[in-house]
Each structure stands twice: as structure tokens, then as C-alpha cells.
């Protein structure tokens, strides 16, 4: 009886000594990031060049921007596998608008609105019919990219206005790109939302116990709907940046990106089953993945081999802590 009581004992205040702090996921991840940084700096003489490092940020900021929204969704025990397809459909919408002569700011609005609309469609299906989000978003993943194919076929949209290139190619200050600044600002915004607002507490509550959350007066369905819209919106923003960066739209744009986004979130310590995770973790994970792929790129390692590395990372970051626990517990 006493054993059970001690199992269920909830402390008034969490232990904040140095040991649990050191063993926090974010701290370990940060250590990994530092090790990779040092390793890369030794492996290639080109790594420490500020312009090269700035180039490296381009490769992950779009994914990381979506990962912030995806983190909220996964904490709420949902998932959105359609984000890469949303990029495709939003990019196609912008391309079509650009052909029709819409100006730069119009394109940005169209890209973001298409993303938000696609996210709302996901959210509607999940919340209105009570469907599992993984199946819904596998369906919309085909649907959205399918729409991109229907519109474009094997064609391509080019001819974006010259100043549209700002979002994906320009620098705000020295080597600091607009994309990177935008990502950092969004990271702060999402961090505040998840960790410092009531809405954030709702997200955790829903992920831990949706039924309990409903009984405590949280509008579970509405919160989830908003999260899907935000995820779509962020994919729309990523579409603006990516389209602006590469300057053209094909239906295969961002193909397979959802895998890297989910990996980033899981690597950042967010529980794939929902209920726990942190934005700082996701941000550090974004840097880890960015540094790894950039480092491998400098060593002339092809993209498909990097995907092995990412796959191994995804499985091992989840497997290792579990193995560690199993080995320590007799």
C-alpha cells in the first residue's frame, strides 16, 4: 500500500538540481550540436567561413519553421504528414498567380492563405469526423500534391517578380539571412505560446489526456483545429521562402520533406505519442540536423546517404534512452 502511494507521489516542486538539469534532453542535444560543430570544423577547412555557415542555415530554416508548428501538433498527440504537399500546392498557387501578374506581396498572401486553407481542411476532417490525423494527412498528402500535378503536369512555373527573391535569398544584416531571422523570431513566438500561455498548457493537457482535458473545460476540437491551421500556415510560409529561394515551382517541390520535419521534432525530444516536448529542444535539433547535413555536404556525401543518417538518427535518438533505461534497470 505504501509502495503504491510513493509511486503516485507528486512533488510540489520539481527537482531542479544540477544533475537533472544536465541530463535534460535539451542539454544533451546541445552537447551533441557542439561536438558536431567541432568535428565539422576539423573535418573541413571550409566549415568555419561565415558565408558557408550562413549558407548552411538556408538548408534547414524552412523545415525548422514547419517543425515549430509540427511540434505543437505532436505535443497535442496529432500529426500532419501533408506539410510537404501543402508546400507544393501553395507554391503552385503562387506560381499561377505570378503568371497572372500578381505582385510580390499578393504572392506572399496567396501562399500563406493557401497553406492556412489546406491546414484548415486537415483540421476540419480530423475534428469534425473524429478521424485519426495520420490517415487523414496521408490522404491529403496525396490530394494536395495531386492538385499540384493536375495544375502543372510536368511543367514548371518561373518568372516570379524580381523583388520576390527577397524572402529566400536576401540578407537582413551581414550574413544573417531573412529566412534565419524569421525562423528565430518564430521560435521565440512558438516557445512563448507553448511554454508561457494558457493555450500552451491546453496543448499539453490535450496530448496527455484528451478526455480529461475536455472534462476540465478545454475545447479540445477547437484547439486541434487551430493547430492544424497553424501547421498549414507555417507550411505556406515555408512555401514562400522555398519558392523565393529556388525561383521556380515544380510539382515535386519539397518531396519527402515531411520525414525530415518529423525527425527534427522527435529528435528535439517531443514525445511522438504526445504530451511532452519543448520548443528549445526542437530549435537545437534543427541546428543539429542542419550541421550534420551541411558537414556531410562539405565532405561530398550525396543526399541519399544523408537520408540514411537522418533515418538512423530518428530511430536511435528514441531507441538509445530506452536501451539505456533497460540496461540500468535489472
Amino acid at each position: 500500500m505504501t509502495d503504491r502511494a510513493s509511486d503516485n507521489h507528486i512533488p510540489d516542486r520539481l527537482d531542479v538540481g544540477w544533475k537533472p538539469r544536465m541530463l535534460r534532453w535539451e542539454t544533451l542535444l546541445f552537447a551533441v550540436a557542439v561536438v558536431i560543430f567541432v568535428f565539422n570544423a576539423n573535418a573541413s577547412p571550409y566549415f568555419l567561413d561565415p558565408w558557408n555557415l550562413s549558407d548552411a542555415t538556408f538548408n534547414f530554416t524552412e523545415k525548422a519553421t514547419i517543425a515549430l508548428a509540427m511540434a505543437l501538433l505532436i505535443v497535442a498527440a496529432e500529426i500532419d504528414l501533408s506539410v510537404a504537399s501543402i508546400i507544393a500546392v501553395a507554391s503552385v498557387a503562387m506560381g499561377a498567380a505570378a503568371q497572372a501578374g500578381v505582385g510580390t506581396w499578393g504572392l506572399v498572401v496567396i501562399g500563406m492563405a493557401t497553406g492556412a486553407l489546406a491546414g484548415a481542411f486537415n483540421g476540419f476532417l480530423v475534428t469534425r469526423f473524429g478521424l485519426p490525423s495520420i490517415v487523414v494527412t496521408i490522404g491529403t498528402m496525396s490530394l494536395f500534391r495531386g492538385i499540384a500535378y493536375v495544375v502543372l503536369g510536368d511543367g514548371v512555373y518561373k518568372g516570379y517578380p524580381a523583388d520576390f527573391a527577397f524572402f529566400g535569398q536576401e540578407y537582413v544584416f551581414w550574413v544573417i539571412s531573412f529566412e534565419f531571422v524569421f525562423f528565430l523570431v518564430m521560435a521565440v513566438v512558438f516557445g512563448i505560446i507553448l511554454h508561457r500561455t494558457v493555450f500552451g498548457r491546453w496543448i499539453f493537457a490535450i496530448g496527455n489526456n484528451p478526455v480529461g482535458a475536455r472534462f476540465s473545460g478545454i475545447r479540445v476540437e477547437r484547439v486541434k483545429f487551430i493547430l492544424f491551421v497553424v501547421s498549414g500556415l507555417m507550411a505556406g510560409v515555408a512555401a514562400v521562402m522555398l519558392t523565393s529561394r529556388i525561383g521556380s515551382t515544380r510539382p515535386t517541390i519539397a518531396l519527402g520533406m515531411e520525414l525530415e520535419v518529423v525527425t527534427m521534432v522527435v529528435l528535439g525530444g517531443v514525445n511522438i505519442l504526445g504530451g511532452s516536448g519543448s520548443i528549445p529542444g526542437v530549435v537545437i535539433a534543427a541546428f543539429v540536423m542542419g550541421l550534420v547535413t551541411f558537414g556531410l555536404g562539405l565532405l561530398n556525401i550525396p543526399g541519399i546517404v544523408m537520408s540514411i543518417v537522418i533515418g538512423v538518427m530518428l530511430i536511435s535518438v528514441i531507441a538509445l534512452p530506452i536501451l539505456w533505461k533497460k540496461i540500468r534497470a535489472p
Binding site: L131, L143, L323
Partner: protein, 327 residues
């Protein structure tokens, strides 16, 4: 009687399939000529086998997103063996494909069973890893038809009683699966584990081990499809069957397999796969650009899950209501 039949999901899906085929045939009579129907079935055989593989995993509340990568890797290994030593018999190569596929599936299963990692995470990872390994093996090189032995390419194409071996393999596996799911202990265990894991434990079933076995079987079937795919399309390279796992999941969902586990029938899955097969083959006939295919299968998945959810929901609600009354 008729009303009861119309409530059966598989019957309804079958009717939709037949009506769709007839509607196309009304405009294009050639569509239901025996030769064309045979072609569609043969074309869909690999999808049917993979859908069976996915069904086994889905029943146990897991999902296997790595089956297309497994197919591609196993297919490449078999093709490489054939290219380097053409004298090896096809039986040996089929054996190799089963074993390699089994091992790749077992890797997924071990992570799920022993470490309790969510299947979607494991198979998202192996989806990338298995396909990456093909690149490591081949350095991006293709293995083309002229490098494969004629026997290797011909085996699934030989016609027996009017149908190619490929189609017979699918028919044989569907029959075997029907027996397996209906009458074997393990087959019933798959349903039990997915339907209610807690009850399954009390019934003396090892949930994790059953899931492991499901992944092994799914891997084995994917491996077999690796050989069939490479022989049918007479080429092996890094990107074969890329994204095909989604079509397989689509076939299962259309066929009424619940992603939440424990629900699904063999006829449903076969009809789901045939549905996609008919759509794919009908598009060029009715003059719609093949670029529509992805959007159509996406829409069909969404419609199918909405319908599935309604059916599953009513069952759940009824039980709750009756238990409420009893209380």
C-alpha cells in the same frame, strides 16, 4: 436479405467497383474485354500482395511505411545476384528475396517489440535507411533488362491457364491469407491484439511478439514483391516503387481496414487494391491525364476514412448505450 447484404461493406465496395467498371465500359466497350481485365488484374497483383502485407501489420495497431523501400532494396539485391551469377535458379532467388525481406521486416519488428518504439517512427526511419542502402550498394547505378537472365525476367510472365504466374501468385497468397486469418491461431491472434490489446494479454497473447511476427510476414511479402516488381518492369534502380507505400495504405483504407487495428477483411483489401487498379487503368482510357491519379487516390482515401469512421463509430456507440442501459 438484400438489405443485410447492402450493409456489408465489402459487398457495397464490390458493387461500386462493378458499377464503375460498367460505366466506363458503356463509353469504351473495350475496357471490359477479357484481355483488358486480365491486364488490369495482373497490373494490380503486386499492389494486392503488398496490401495484404500492410493489412497484417495494420490489424495489430501498427503501420509499416517501409514496405516500398523494402521492396526496392530486396529487388535490387536479387537483381544484383542475378546479374553477377545468372546460372542460379529462380527458386533460389525467390528464396533470397523472402529471406532478405523477412530480415528487413524483422528489424522493424524488433524495435517495436523489444524497445516499444512507435511503429510509425521506426518505419519512417527504415523507409529512408533501406532506400539509402540501395544507393550504397549500387552507387546509383541501374541494373537493366539486358543484365538480367531471360529466365529471371520470364518467370512471373509465364502463362498458366490463361493468367500469368504473377497473377497466380497474388491469387494463391490471397487464398492462403484467407485461410490464415480465418482459421489459424496466429491469424486470430492478429485480430485480437489489434482489437483490444489489454484483453489479448489476459487471453494469454504476447502483444509485442505478435506485432513482431506481423512485421516479419509483411517484410517477407514485400521482399517477394521486390523480385516480382524488378522482373515485371525489367529494371532495378534506387527509386523504384518510391512512394508506393502510400498507395498500399490507400488500398487498405479503401478496403475498410481500420488504422486503429483489429478491423478488416481479405475481400475488402483485395477490392480496395482492385479499385485503385481500375482507376489507374481507366484514366488513360477515358482520356484523363495521368497527373490526376494522385489527386484522385488522395480524395478516395479521405472519403473512405470518413465512411469507415462512421461505421466504426456506430458500433462503439451502441455498445456504450447498451452498457449504460444495463447499468
Amino acid at each position: 436479405m438484400i438489405k443485410a447484404l447492402l450493409k456489408n461493406r465489402d459487398v457495397v465496395l464490390g458493387l461500386i467497383l462493378v458499377m464503375m467498371t460498367l460505366a466506363i465500359a458503356a463509353r469504351f466497350p473495350g475496357f471490359i474485354e477479357l484481355e483488358n481485365l486480365r491486364g488490369i488484374f495482373t497490373d494490380t497483383s503486386i499492389l494486392i500482395i503488398l496490401a495484404l502485407a500492410q493489412m497484417i501489420v495494420l490489424l495489430t495497431r501498427c503501420i509499416d511505411l517501409s514496405i516500398a523501400s523494402n521492396l526496392a532494396l530486396t529487388g535490387m539485391i536479387v537483381a544484383m545476384i542475378n546479374a553477377s551469377s545468372p546460372e542460379l535458379s529462380i527458386a533460389v532467388l525467390v528464396g533470397v528475396s523472402l529471406i532478405v525481406g523477412f530480415c528487413l521486416g524483422a528489424v522493424n519488428g524488433l524495435f517495436v517489440w523489444l524497445l516499444g518504439i512507435p511503429p510509425i517512427v521506426v518505419t519512417l526511419g527504415t523507409l529512408a535507411i533501406y532506400r539509402g542502402i540501395i544507393f550504397l550498394l549500387t552507387d546509383g547505378q541501374w541494373i537493366n533488362a539486358h543484365e538480367m537472365s531471360p529466365a529471371f525476367l520470364q518467370a512471373p510472365r509465364n502463362i498458366i491457364i490463361g493468367l500469368p504466374v504473377l497473377a497466380w501468385v497474388a491469387i494463391g497468397l490471397v487464398t492462403a491469407a484467407a485461410v490464415f486469418f480465418g482459421w489459424s491461431k496466429l491469424g486470430r491472434a492478429l485480430y485480437a491484439v489489434g482489437g483490444n490489446p489489454v484483453a489479448a494479454v489476459y487471453a494469454g497473447l504476447d502483444v509485442g511478439k505478435t506485432q513482431f511476427i506481423a512485421f516479419c510476414i509483411s517484410g517477407m511479402l514485400s521482399g517477394l514483391c521486390g523480385y516480382l516488381w524488378v522482373a515485371r518492369y525489367a529494371v532495378a534502380y534506387v527509386d523504384i516503387a518510391r512512394g508506393f507505400e502510400l498507395e498500399v495504405v490507400a488500398a487498405c483504407v479503401i478496403g475498410g481496414i481500420s488504422i486503429a487495428g483489429g478491423i478488416g477483411t481479405i475481400p475488402g483489401v483485395v477490392l480496395g487494391a482492385l479499385f485503385l487498379g481500375v482507376v489507374k487503368n481507366a484514366l488513360p482510357v477515358i482520356g484523363i491525364s495521368p497527373f490526376w491519379q494522385l489527386a484522385i487516390s488522395g480524395s478516395v482515401i479521405i472519403i473512405a476514412v470518413v465512411i469507415n469512421a462512421r461505421q466504426e463509430k456506430t458500433v462503439g456507440k451502441l455498445i456504450l448505450r447498451s452498457s449504460h442501459k444495463a447499468g
